[in-house]
C-alpha cells in the first residue's frame, strides 16, 4: 500500500509550513518519513529528503542519530505518551543534551532549567525531578517541546501536537510555538487536521489527500481555491450545513435526572512530598436534565466535569448529595449509558463489531441468541455502520466508526440518558459534525436525553439547550448557547477565546 505518492515539500529557514489533511491523508507518515522514523514495515520507495544539501534517505543510522534532535527535532502526537513513564523529566531532557554535546553536569542542569523557563515553567527545579504522570497534559506537551528544542535544532516537525489537549491548553501551546518561532528563528513543519491553528502560524500550507499533495499556497490563496476538498479541510464547519434546531420547550419537560448538592473529594498525595491533601473534585453541584434535551457541561481538564459524569453513571460514589433518576434514588442502571472519549480503549479490540453491540443484550438476557444478533445488526445500521462489517474486529474500525460502534452498544441497553464524556473530542471536525447530526437524529427518534461533556465549543449552539460551565468542581455559570459570546464570567470567556484562537475567523457561527 502506498501511504505517500510523490510528495514535494520545501521548507526555508525560519519558515513554517502547515500540512493539512483529514485523518488518513498520509500527513503523519510524511512527518515520520522526514525524520526517517517510519515503522519497520514501511520504507521509502522512491524520492529524496534533502536537509542542507544532504540526502537523509541515504543517511547511515549514525548520521541519522547525529541529525535527530540536534538539527531536526520531532514533537509527536500524544503528549501523554511521548515521555517515558519511569524516568524523571530531568533525565529525559538531559539525555538529549548528552547525546549531542559534551556539557558537564552543572552545565546540563543549567541548560535544562533554562529551556524549561523558556517553555514558560515557573518552577523548573520541580519539573526536572517530576515524573510524567505528575504533570497535566498541557505541561507534558510543553516538556516534550522542551526536550525537542533543548539542543536548538533548526527545524521542528510537529505531528498533531495539539490533539488530545483541551482547547485552552491548545491555545497556550500555539502561543508558545509562535513565540519560539519568533525568538529562535525556528523552521517548522506543522501537521494538523485543524486549519484554524494554521491561520496565525503557517507561512505556507500544503493540503494533502490520500498521500498526495492536492494544493499548496498561503492561507489567502487556498481560501480562494474552488476545490471542494480544500474548502472542506479549511472550513470543516462550513461544509456541515446544519440548521440550528428549534428549541425544545425545556422548562415544560419533566426533569429526567436531578442532581442535588453533589460533592466528591479525592485524597491525593502532594507531588514530591509525603503530605496528603484533599482535592475537592465536586462541590455542591445542582443540576436538572429535562427529558429529551441536551445539556452541555463545559470546562477545562480538571474542572470536575468528568467526575460529575462518573457520579451520575454510578462509577463513583459521591460523598454527599442526591442523584434522582425520574424522581427516584438512582443506582447503577441500564437507563444511564456512557460513551467515552477514546473508543479505541473503551471497546475490546478483539471483539467483533457484532459482539461489541450484542454484549449489553446478552448481559440483560434479552430474548434469544438469534434475536440478539438481528438486533445488533439493526443497531449498527441505525448508527450508520454497514451491517455487512459486523464480523470485523472492533480494533479494525477507524476512529469515527469506533465511536459509532460505542454509540450502538450504548443504545443496545435502551437508555434514557446518554452521557458523552468528551465523546467527540478525539475526532476531527467533519467527523464530529457527522456524529452530531446522528445524535440529533437519534434524540428525535427515541426521545433521548443527552449530557454532553466537552472542553471545546464545536457545534454547541446547534444541538444543546443549556450550557453549564464548570471550574474547580463548581458550576460557575448556566446559560443558553446563544448567550455564550456575551458571557462576562472569566471561565466562560477563556473557553470562548480559546475556541476563537483555534478556529478560522468567520466560522464562529458555531458559537
Amino acid at each position: 500500500m502506498r501511504a505517500l505518492r510523490g510528495v514535494d515539500l520545501e521548507v526555508a529557514p525560519g519558515q513554517t509550513v502547515g500540512v493539512l489533511g483529514e485523518s488518513g491523508s498520509g500527513k503523519s507518515s510524511l512527518a515520520l518519513a522526514l525524520m526517517r522514523l517510519l515503522p519497520r514495515n514501511a520504507r521509502i520507495a522512491s524520492g529524496s529528503i534533502e536537509y542542507r544539501g544532504a540526502n537523509l534517505a541515504e543517511f547511515t543510522s549514525k548520521q541519522l542519530r547525529k541529525m535527530r534532535g540536534a538539527e531536526v527535532a520531532l514533537i509527536s502526537q500524544e503528549p501523554a505518551l511521548a515521555l517515558n513513564p519511569v524516568l524523571t523529566l530531568g533525565t529525559q531532557i538531559k539525555d538529549v543534551l548528552k547525546a549531542h554535546s559534551t556539557l558537564d553536569r552543572a552545565q546540563l542542569a543549567a541548560r535544562s532549567k533554562e529551556i524549561l523557563c523558556e517553555m514558560g515553567f515557573e518552577d523548573p527545579e520541580r519539573i526536572l525531578r517530576a515524573y510524567p504522570h505528575q504533570l497535566s497534559g498541557g505541561q507534558r506537551q510543553r516538556v516534550a517541546i522542551a526536550q525537542a528544542l533543548v539542543c536548538r535544532p533548526q527545524l521542528l516537525i510537529a505531528d498533531e501536537p495539539l490533539s488530545s489537549l483541551d482547547a485552552a491548553t491548545q491555545a497556550e501551546i500555539v502561543d508558545l510555538l509562535q513565540r519560539l518561532k519568533r525568538e529562535m528563528g525556528l523552521a517548522m513543519v506543522f501537521v494538523t487536521h485543524n486549519a484554524g491553528v494554521l491561520w496565525s502560524l503557517a507561512d505556507l500550507i500544503v493540503v494533502m489527500r490520500e498521500g498526495a499533495v492536492l494544493a499548496r499556497g498561503s492561507m489567502d490563496e487556498l481560501q480562494r481555491s474552488p476545490d471542494p476538498y480544500v474548502q472542506s479541510v479549511l472550513f470543516p464547519e462550513k461544509s456541515v450545513l446544519m440548521a440550528p434546531r428549534e428549541k425544545a420547550p425545556a422548562a415544560l419537560a419533566q426533569p429526567l435526572l436531578e442532581v442535588r448538592n453533589l460533592s466528591k473529594k479525592f485524597i491525593q498525595r502532594h507531588i514530591l512530598s509525603r503530605k496528603k491533601f484533599m482535592v475537592q473534585s465536586l462541590e455542591a453541584v445542582d443540576l436538572a436534565l429535562p427529558e429529551g434535551t441536551t445539556t452541555a457541561v463545559l470546562g477545562r481538564s480538571g474542572s470536575g466535569k468528568s467526575t460529575l459524569a462518573r457520579c451520575i453513571a454510578g462509577f463513583e460514589t459521591p460523598d454527599s448529595g442526591e442523584i434522582l433518576l425520574e424522581g427516584r434514588k438512582q443506582q447503577l442502571t441500564r437507563t444511564v449509558q456512557m460513551i467515552f472519549q477514546d473508543a479505541a480503549t473503551s471497546l475490546n479490540p478483539r471483539f467483533t463489531a457484532r459482539q461489541v453491540v450484542a454484549e449489553p443484550l446478552e448481559i440483560a438476557r434479552w430474548k434469544t441468541e438469534l434475536d440478539r444478533m438481528a438486533r445488533a445488526l439493526e443497531l449498527m445500521e441505525e448508527v450508520g455502520l454497514d451491517s455487512a462489517s459486523a464480523g470485523r474486529l472492533a480494533g479494525e474500525f477507524s476512529g469515527g466508526q469506533r465511536q459509532r460502534l460505542a454509540l450502538a452498544r450504548a443504545l443496545a441497553a435502551e437508555p434514557k440518558l446518554l452521557i458523552m464524556d468528551e465523546a467527540l473530542s478525539g475526532l476531527d471536525v467533519p467527523l464530529q459534525a457527522q456524529m452530531v447530526r446522528l445524535l440529533m437524529d437519534l434524540q428525535a427518534r427515541h426521545g433521548l436525553t443527552y449530557l454532553y461533556i466537552s472542553h471545546d465549543l464545536n457545534f454547541i449552539s446547534l444541538f444543546v439547550q443549556e450550557i453549564i460551565v464548570m471550574e474547580a468542581g463548581q458550576i460557575v455559570e448556566r446559560l443558553a448557547p446563544s448567550r455564550l459570546g456575551r458571557s462576562e464570567h472569566p471561565a466562560t470567556r477563556a473557553l470562548v477565546m480559546a475556541s476563537e484562537r483555534l478556529h478560522a475567523p468567520g466560522v464562529e457561527a458555531v458559537v
Binding site: 522514523l37 509527536s76 502526537q77 539525555d95 549531542h100 504522570h133
Partner: protein, 322 residues
C-alpha cells in the same frame, strides 16, 4: 516505604500460618503414619505400638498436635523427626543452606543472561535472530526438567570433567578453604547449569515480549527522534519501562526454580531439601515434611517480597499508589 514492606511481611506471616494449618489437615487426611509399617511386623505387639504412639504424641487430637508444633517452632525446633530422633530443624537447616547454594546462583545467573540477551533480541532488526530465538527457546521449554538433569549426568559420565553427584569430594573438608571452595564450585557447576537451562527460556521469552512491546510505544519513537544511541534506547529507556512485569516474574521464578531444584537435587544427588523431602514423605516423617514445605514457602514469600521491593524502587507509579 517501610510501611509498605511491613505490610508485605505481615501478609507473608498470615500466609505461612494458613499454609501450616492447611498442611496439618492435608497430612492428617493422607492414609498411614510413621508407625503404620510397624503394624505389619508380627513381632511387635499392638501394645508396644500404642505406647510408641503415645510417646510420639500421635494419639493426641489434631489441634493439640498443632499447638505443640507451634510451641516447638517457637523454640526453633519445628517438631521432631521420627526417623532420625532429632529435632526437625537440625535436619532442615543444612539442607536449606545447600538448596540455596544451588538456587541463588541459578536465579542470578539466569537473569544475568536472560535480561541483556532478551533486550538485544527484542531490539534486533534481523529476522533470522528472531527465528533462531523462537526455535531455541521452544526447544528448551519443551525439554522436561528430568531430561535436562539426566543429560547433565550423561555429560558428566561421558566426559569425566564433572563429578556425577554429591556436593563435595571425599576429604575435601581437610584441605584449605580455597581448595574446598573450588571443589564445591566444581560440584555445583552441573546442577546450576541444569537449573539455568530449565529456567532461562521462560525468562528470555518474557524479557523479549515486554521489551518488544515497549519498543513499539510512542515514547520510544520520540526518544529515537531525539537522536539517542541504540544502546541507551534499549537499556536506559526501554528496559526500565518494561521492567514491571519482569519484576513480578522474578518473584515467581524463585518459586519455580525451587520446584525444579527439588527434582534436580534428587536426580543429581545434591544434599538439599529435595532428597530430604522425598525420603520423609516416603517414611511419613510428618514434621520433616511440614518443615520442608514451610521452608519452601518462606523462600517463595521472600522471593515475592524482593520482587515487590524492586518494583517499588523501579516504578514511580507504584510508589504513588503505595
Amino acid at each position: 516505604m517501610i510501611r509498605y514492606i511491613a505490610r508485605r511481611i505481615g501478609h507473608g506471616a498470615v500466609m505461612l500460618f494458613g499454609i501450616s494449618i492447611f498442611l496439618f489437615l492435608l497430612l492428617q487426611a493422607a492414609p498411614g503414619e510413621f508407625l503404620s509399617d510397624l503394624k505389619l511386623n508380627s513381632q511387635i505387639s499392638p501394645e508396644t505400638i500404642v505406647g510408641l504412639r503415645a510417646q510420639y504424641g500421635l494419639d493426641q487430637p489434631l489441634p493439640v498436635r498443632y499447638w505443640k508444633w507451634v510451641e516447638s517452632s517457637a523454640k526453633g525446633e519445628f517438631g521432631y523427626s521420627f526417623a532420625y530422633n532429632v529435632p526437625a530443624s537440625t535436619l532442615l537447616w543444612p539442607r536449606a543452606r545447600n538448596t540455596l547454594l544451588l538456587s541463588l546462583p541459578a536465579v542470578l545467573l539466569s537473569w544475568l543472561i536472560a535480561v541483556p540477551l532478551g533486550v538485544l533480541v527484542a531490539g534486533s532488526k534481523w529476522r533470522w535472530v528472531d527465528r533462531l530465538f523462537s526455535a531455541g527457546t521452544s526447544t528448551l521449554l519443551a525439554l522436561p526438567d528430568v531430561l535436562i538433569a539426566l543429560l547433565a549426568l550423561l555429560i558428566a559420565l561421558k566426559t569425566g570433567l564433572f563429578p556425577v553427584g554429591g556436593m563435595t569430594s571425599i576429604g575435601a573438608q581437610e584441605q584449605s578453604i580455597w581448595a574446598w571452595l573450588c571443589d564445591l564450585a566444581w560440584h555445583m557447576a552441573l546442577p546450576v547449569a541444569a537449573l539455568v537451562v530449565g529456567l532461562l527460556a521462560m525468562i528470555l521469552r518474557h524479557v523479549r515480549a515486554s521489551v518488544g512491546e515497549v519498543l513499539e510505544s510512542s515514547y520510544m519513537r520520540a526518544a529515537e527522534g531525539h537522536g539517542l544511541s541504540r544502546f541507551k534506547l534499549l537499556f536506559r529507556y526501554a528496559l526500565p519501562a518494561a521492567a514491571n512485569p519482569l519484576i513480578s516474574l522474578f518473584g515467581l521464578s524463585v518459586a519455580l526454580l525451587l520446584s525444579i531444584s527439588l527434582l534436580i537435587e534428587v536426580v543429581m544427588s545434591w544434599p538439599g531439601i529435595g532428597p530430604l523431602l522425598l525420603e520423609s514423605i516416603l517414611s511419613r516423617d510428618l514434621f520433616v515434611v511440614i518443615g520442608a514445605v514451610m521452608l519452601s514457602t518462606v523462600f517463595l514469600i521472600l522471593g515475592n517480597l524482593l520482587g515487590d521491593i524492586l518494583l517499588y524502587a523501579f516504578d514511580p507509579r507504584i510508589r504513588r499508589q503505595a
